[in-house]
């Protein structure tokens, strides 16, 4: 168990399914330093210290097509942290305090 980390981590769990999901994971890795990606059957766990950002532009570039941030709902399984922001351009997960 990894207790006592100085910065509280946040994370999302995504379906290990389509190309879309893979590209979203790649986009998260590109836009967040120090993410840790781990695998369970059927699912991918992405953890990040402090904050995790999913940017529409990065996902679109990787997918080669338009992508609305609402589409994130099709790949998300779970998360921990607080969804601080979810607008047309990005989703930000972080703790408030």
């Amino acid at each position: 168990m990894t207790t006592g980390t100085p910065v509280k981590s946040v994370g999302v769990e995504l379906q290990e399914s389509s190309d879309d999901a893979r590209m979203v994971i790649e986009a998260i890795q590109r836009d967040n330093a120090d993410v840790v990606v781990s695998y369970l059957p059927g699912l991918v766990k992405v953890q990040s210290p402090g904050e995790l950002v999913i940017r529409r532009e990065t996902v679109e570039e990787l997918l080669g097509r338009p992508w609305e941030t609402h589409e994130f709902q099709l790949v998300i399984v779970s998360y921990y942290g607080h969804i601080g922001e979810w607008d047309d351009d990005q989703i930000v997960i972080k703790w408030d305090h």
Partner: protein
């Protein structure tokens, strides 16, 4: 002006512009349930929903999720998918699921429909409405998915009747009824926060990852499809608690007491899941202990509760006992179900050598010392042609309704029993946590429908075991030992190497 409204503008148009303040009817009469619990709300418009769903986006994405699921179910039915499972024993987990979890989805559908009517603010009303529809979708997709197995295997045919009648299913049923009979704010904290945010990952993620690993593609798909809604539900729980804590300082102690109560209630409920993870999956994903450490200790105690400290909220009372129990919980529950499975809607058996080796590895401090000897004894009885079943009915905890199987903290060989006399009547509890819950509201819990008491009162089909089982809706093959059961025999026959049509 831009061509298209942004997400924020569309959401504001739906949840704010379409709302109005009643002026010829007293608002307290329109929303009569949101004052008696003592919660103070000064500004409902401060509620924010980061998902910013509108009617069109909600339906668009939900339809897409359903399309994906039904494509999987079709492929499964056409490809004889049920034969690709790791083992037929795996389905005991799904029997427990359709008996005990699917009816909770339906209860949640009703619960959130009620909240969608009764909150004063349009933001939480719309979030509750979406969740109410989600929960109905979960009920339907779970029934559709598991009906693929119901064609071939036992235990899944009468789940609604069983949910209302069978002893171990009163654990989830009474949990939800406790929440639904509370006020709207308490029930929101109970279900959205304590269940959805704190504990649901412990239920769904290992369940669905287990489905994936054991060749059960449709359950995995409905699980992840449901769980993607669940992340919205978790958000509702977290937004709810932050909103209420920020509205008035006087709300803090009320909410703390609800967190204390509902953490413990929820934790006792997931005891059934603990044994499922460790004992019912032929191919293991992670142990209960590991899952508890990751999803609860790391993410909730070291993440969420550090965040909530800001508001003066501390970790749930009795959480230390849950942490202490992580080494023993699943084994104690599995052993109890083994002894009482003659009256259950699933089959149990002694874990085989390989399974026990895994349990030993996961629980080096407790398995060999406390639990392997019990299984060895049971195995010996089976080898001699017998089968150990407990003769009689268990005493149930008045609050969580789990049989009194839990042990004293620090002493895993002494059963914990607590008693309270209330109005000349004695009540029994499995733990300090359940006793504490009772003492806060004894007038509520004295009304509990305890399955064992009901059997003794003669209202469950009759005085004998076969009469009670018939009243439960159980049929031949649904219960008892797995080895030699109908499911086991069918599984062996279907996997025998016989040519097609022979």
């Amino acid at each position: 002006m831009s061509k298209k409204l942004s997400m924020q503008q569309r959401y504001a148009a739906l949840t704010r512009d379409l709302d109005w303040t009643p002026d010829y009817v007293d608002p307290a009469k329109v929303f009569p349930l949101t004052s008696f619990e003592g919660i103070k709300v000064h500004d409902w418009s401060a509620w924010s929903d980061p998902f910013r769903l509108t009617v069109d986006t909600y339906h668009k994405y939900q339809a897409e999720k359903d399309k994906r699921l039904y494509a999987v179910i079709d492929g499964f039915a056409q490809g004889q998918g049920h034969l690709s499972l790791s083992d037929a024993q795996y389905l005991n987990a799904m029997k427990l699921f359709i008996q005990g979890v699917t009816p909770l989805e339906y209860a949640a559908h009703r619960h959130f429909a009620q909240l969608a009517r009764h909150f004063d603010g349009p933001g939480p009303r719309f979030a509750a409405l979406c969740q109410s529809i989600d929960e109905l979708r979960h009920t339907q997709t779970e029934v559709h998915t598991l009906s693929q197995y119901n064609k071939y295997y036992g235990g899944m045919h009468s789940n609604w009747k069983m949910f209302d009648r069978v002893w171990y299913l009163s654990v989830p049923k009474s949990y939800f009824e406790d929440a639904m009979s509370a006020g709207p704010f308490e029930s929101l904290i109970a279900i959205s926060f304590s269940f959805e945010y704190l504990l649901t990952n412990l239920l769904f993620v290992p369940f669905m990852s287990g489905a994936s690993f054991n060749g059960d593609l449709p359950s995995m798909t409905f699980g992840f499809s449901a769980q993607s809604d669940e992340s919205r539900h978790m958000t509702l729980g977290l937004e709810a608690i932050k909103f209420l804590l920020e509205q008035d300082e006087a709300n803090v102690p009320i909410i703390q007491a609800w967190i204390d109560k509902w953490f413990w209630r929820g934790y006792r409920l997931v005891a059934l899941i603990a044994q499922m993870i460790d004992y019912m999956l032929p191919k293991k994903v992670m142990s209960w202990k590991e899952s508890f450490e990751l999803y609860f200790e790391e993410q909730m105690l070291n993440g969420l509760f550090k965040d909530l400290e800001f508001y003066g909220i501390r970790p749930p009372m009795h959480v230390q006992q849950a942490i202490e129990e992580k080494e023993i919980l699943s084994h104690q529950v599995a052993w109890t179900l083994y002894q009482f499975s003659f009256a259950a809607g699933f089959n149990t058996t002694v874990p085989d050598e390989e399974h026990q080796a895994w349990l030993r590895e996961q629980y080096p401090d407790t398995f060999d010392k406390l639990f392997a000897p019990q299984w060895a004894k049971a195995k010996k009885i089976q080898e001699e042609g017998g089968r150990f079943f407990f003769q009689g009915l268990p005493q149930l905890c008045q609050v969580c309704q789990v049989p009194m199987l839990f042990t004293e903290v620090g002493d895993p060989e002494t059963i914990c029993q607590r008693q309270v006399v209330y109005e000349d009547e004695r009540y029994d509890f499995c733990s300090d946590g359940c006793q504490w819950v009772f003492e806060r509201e004894p007038e509520k819990y004295v009304q509990a429908w305890l399955p064992v008491h009901q059997i003794y009162q003669g209202v469950c089909g009759g005085p004998s075991v076969p009469e009670v089982l018939a009243w439960y809706g159980l049929q031949e093959g649904d219960s008892g030992e797995y080895i030699g059961s109908l499911d086991h025999k069918d599984w062996l026959a279907w996997h025998a190497t016989a040519p097609v049509g022979s």
